[in-house]
């Protein structure tokens, strides 16, 4: 699945010319938006960011910003950065990375100040924002890591949604029957692997188009879990749905670390799935980019023929990676029913598998990038639900669109260059 046009030599020349102007134009547009929204139409009053909770060990004072003044300063910085990008494009081919990065950070902060300054209450608890975002971010990270494992080895995984849903369902069922959350967790990994097995068997052995298999598997899992939910989970014994009352995984706060403002509740007051996520992100990054194992996988994903020539079994590597991806996504699915909510409900993943796909692309097929993208999308999602209660200058639906819109910008080359592994989506037939 090459995302930026796969080498088209005849058009290469004008593509370079297009790319060099794309960034300044985009930054210019956003700077203009900032001037109009944040400076000219900026809300009067102050935006308060509450950092510490009352029972925290360390108290950090609230951050109070005058919304309009901050908007004016921020938009001036943004305009300056856009001009800098324009000058760079004029002189050389590429815009420096720090310009776009600073631009993005300043824009996001200014946007937050503008939104919060425009609400009725004019304040937000950052702990609630970030810790609540983890409810969305955790399954997103697992889903996108599943995608990383599959796509790095050259198999497109559209079935992330199905893997998450299968994990959520199986975790709820097994944890209810055995009254053991860890059994549920294990079963969820197995369920994710079963979905992966179908994906691998059909796309590697039978060389069926991977996107078709992925799409169909999502429908299959949705139908299957829906059917079994109606048939099994709704059966009540003495008025209790005994097959849909999973035992939950306990939160395991790490002493001391969990007291750090914002980061503590976000990262160090989690269930075992949450800690596993943190380890997995780093381990996968290290494994993929710093070990022989990762080099082989990337070789299979970029140039399977070359990998085959040096003796790597391409299809076995892909098979194993897809299976591992299924286990990872299955555990992510277990997070829904063993941590986030009390029981399984029909289609409860609600398209999060596709946001995970978006995070994977926005994170450039890199575990850490994908995790950060998942965090961004999680915060945006949680901000949307917080703001729907607070009344805002912009509609929550636009925040809901954010992950998808950013992904489209990323794949069309407006935001950096997002390129899939070269052989992703292409079956490998020896000979």
């Amino acid at each position: 699945m090459s995302v930026v046009a796969a080498a088209e030599p005849s058009k290469l020349a004008d593509r370079v010319a297009i790319r060099s102007w794309r960034t300044p134009i985009l930054l210019g547009v956003f700077a203009l938006v900032a001037v109009v929204l944040f400076a000219i139409l900026g809300p009067d009053g102050q935006a308060t960011f509450r950092i510490s909770q009352d029972n925290d060990a360390w108290q950090v004072p609230n951050l109070v910003l005058p919304a309009k003044a901050f908007g004016i300063v921020a938009s001036l910085i943004l305009v300056a950065l856009a001009v800098a990008a324009w000058l760079q494009s004029k002189n050389q081919a590429r815009v420096a990375k720090w310009v776009t990065m600073t631009f993005a950070v300043v824009f996001v902060i200014a946007l937050m100040v503008w939104i919060i300054g425009g609400t009725k209450t004019q304040n937000i608890t950052l702990v609630g924002l970030f810790a609540g975002a983890m409810l969305i971010t955790t399954p997103l990270v697992f889903g996108s890591l599943s995608g990383v494992l599959c796509e790095r080895s050259g198999v497109v995984n559209i079935a992330i949604e199905g893997q998450l849903l299968a994990g959520a369902f199986t975790a709820a069922l097994v944890a209810s029957i055995t009254q053991n959350a860890f059994a549920g967790l294990f079963a969820a990994a197995v369920a994710g692997m079963l979905v992966s097995f179908l994906l691998a068997a059909f796309s590697i052995k039978y060389v069926v188009n991977q996107i078709i298999v992925g799409v169909v598997l999502n429908v299959l899992v949705s139908g299957l879990t829906g059917f079994l939910f109606e048939k099994i989970m709704k059966t009540k014994v003495d008025g209790v749905a005994i097959y849909n009352q999973p035992v939950h995984l306990p939160d395991l706060p790490i002493p001391f670390l969990s007291q750090i403002p914002i980061l503590g509740p976000m990262l160090f007051r989690q269930s075992i799935i949450g800690y596993f996520m943190l380890v997995l992100v780093v381990a996968l990054w290290f494994g993929l980019f710093r070990t022989r194992w990762g080099l082989r996988i990337r070789a299979v994903g970029e140039h399977p023929k070359a990998a085959d020539t040096v003796g790597i079994n391409v299809n076995r590597t892909r098979f194993l990676n897809v299976m591992a991806g299924g286990a990872v996504a299955g555990i992510g699915g277990a997070y829904f029913t063993l941590v986030a909510v009390s029981s399984f409900s029909k289609d409860m993943t609600g398209g999060l598998g596709f946001i995970a796909l978006a995070a994977l692309i926005f994170g450039r097929w890199n575990p850490i990038g994908a995790a950060l993208a998942a965090l961004l999308f999680g915060v945006a999602g949680n901000l949307q639900s917080i703001l729907s209660l607070a009344g805002t200058p912009i509609d929550g639906q636009f925040l809901a669109m954010l992950p998808y819109a950013l992904t489209i910008l990323a794949v069309s080359g407006f935001v950096g260059k997002s390129r899939a592994p070269a052989a992703s989506g292409q079956p490998y037939v020896k000979g």
Binding site: M1, V215, G223, F227, D395
Partner: protein, 413 residues
């Protein structure tokens, strides 16, 4: 899947290059059909449906409490288990079949004629299935039918309930608006694919979700029905509705005629027109098409525009045919079913038509099965997806039934 979309149709059937002589074309078509039946492709489709139904039956049986009860004394009385299985499965599939065709046990005479519900459900599936089929043939994977249906229905709705025009003109305006809405939404993906190489699968998936959010936003603000607390639009004008074909007792509407016309048009476009030839050439090998002087990027854009327009029409048949007002659920699962319909129809216009009829029957029958046999309609999704999986992997079915593969000459493994 960058530049090698031999993937679209599950079988990379080598499309015979159309020659200017129409008689030759006809002959080629004729022999191709015979060859296809001989090579077992048609048999495989039938077997795929059968195997999927059998697996669905197994699921129905093992989750039926009567079967579980009878299997408790299986060794004492094995017959009881088998008769319980038979009762359970035949009850479910019987209700499915009656609901989709003719049900003498229904209370009202309208309720007996489920066949018209089948046609009603099939209507948007035909149009959206055609949208996916057409893009497939040009080597593009349009997963965005869902979003295009939503945008088509939204555009059609705006014209349908905010403008007040005389009869006929109003309906035509609604249809046109729906087609434009879908075309714009798919056109974004086509444009980005042509100009930046952005993969259409990713872009269309993302556009699906953007469409839902966009419509929810409109329904909460500009398009909200006055006095309503739910995000739902006002009802369409009577002039803007597609006329019902069989009177007020049945939901089947003129959208079906629109859909059949669309099948004919797409069949002509693909098999007879220069544009269709270009699309197929691009789908078979974009590099060769470029070498032959075709403008591939323009092909990507136009095929997505037409594809989106077809999906938009599916949105029209939803809002102006059955639903009457716009809500965020207007597209149901049609956009995703359309993908499976196109696959089952082997990316051919008439194949898509019959596949849509089958899936429409599943939908109509599934409702009756849920009510009369207490089997959740979700089993239909299971059966549908299994059908597509089996059809997409002919070697699997072949090995299951030991059918010898007779490959059409010239086709590579």
């Amino acid at each position: 899947m960058s530049e090698t979309p031999s993937i679209p149709a599950p079988t990379p059937a080598p499309t015979p290059a159309p020659t200017p002589d129409s008689k030759d074309v006809k002959d080629a078509e004729g022999t191709r059909v015979i060859r296809e039946i001989m090579s077992g492709n048609a048999i495989i489709s039938v077997l795929a449906v059968l195997v999927a139904l059998v697996i669905g039956g197994i699921l129905i049986a093992i989750t039926d409490p009567r079967v579980t009860a009878a299997s408790g004394y299986f060794f004492a009385d094995p017959g009881a288990t088998f008769s319980a299985i038979w009762a359970s499965v035949s009850e479910a599939y019987g209700a499915l079949w009656r609901g989709a065709t003719y049900d003498p046990t229904a209370r009202t005479w309208q309720g007996q004629l489920g066949i018209f519900e089948t046609l009603t459900f099939a209507t948007p599936l035909i149009l959206a299935g055609l949208a996916v089929t057409l893009a497939f043939r040009a080597g593009l994977f349009n997963i965005g039918a869902q979003g295009q249906i939503i945008m088509g229905a939204t555009f059609a709705g705006v014209v349908g309930f905010q403008m007040h025009l005389p009869p006929v003109i109003h309906l035509l305006a609604v249809i046109l608006a729906g087609a434009i809405g879908g075309a714009i939404w798919a056109g974004i993906a086509g444009f980005l694919k042509a100009r930046t190489g952005a993969h259409e699968v990713i872009v269309t998936i993302m556009l699906n979700y953007i469409a839902v959010s966009f419509v929810l936003y409109l329904l909460k603000n500009q398009l909200k029905a006055p006095g309503s607390t739910n995000p739902i639009s006002p009802q369409m004008d009577a002039n803007a509705m597609l006329p019902l074909l069989l009177g007020p007792n049945f939901r089947v509407n003129a959208g079906l005629i629109l859909a059949i016309l669309a099948v004919i048009a797409v069949a002509w476009l693909l098999n007879r027109s220069t544009l269709g030839f270009e699309y197929r050439a691009i789908g078979a090998n974009p590099k060769a098409a470029r070498t032959a002087g075709m403008i591939v990027s323009r092909g990507y854009i136009t095929v997505m525009l037409i594809s989106g327009a077809l999906a938009g029409l599916a949105g029209v048949t939803q809002i102006a045919g059955t639903e009457k007002s716009l809500d965020s659920e207007i597209a149901g699962s049609i956009g995703f079913d359309a993908i499976t319909v196109a696959l089952l129809g082997r990316s051919k216009p008439w194949g898509t038509f019959f596949a849509a009829l089958l899936f429409g029957a599943f939908k109509a029958g599934g409702t009756s099965m849920a009510v009369n046999a207490d089997v959740s309609i979700d089993i239909v999704a299971v059966v549908q997806s299994l059908i597509v999986l089996f059809i997409a992997a002919p070697p699997l079915i072949r090995s299951m039934f030991r059918i010898k593969a007779v490959r059409p000459e010239g086709a590579k493994a």
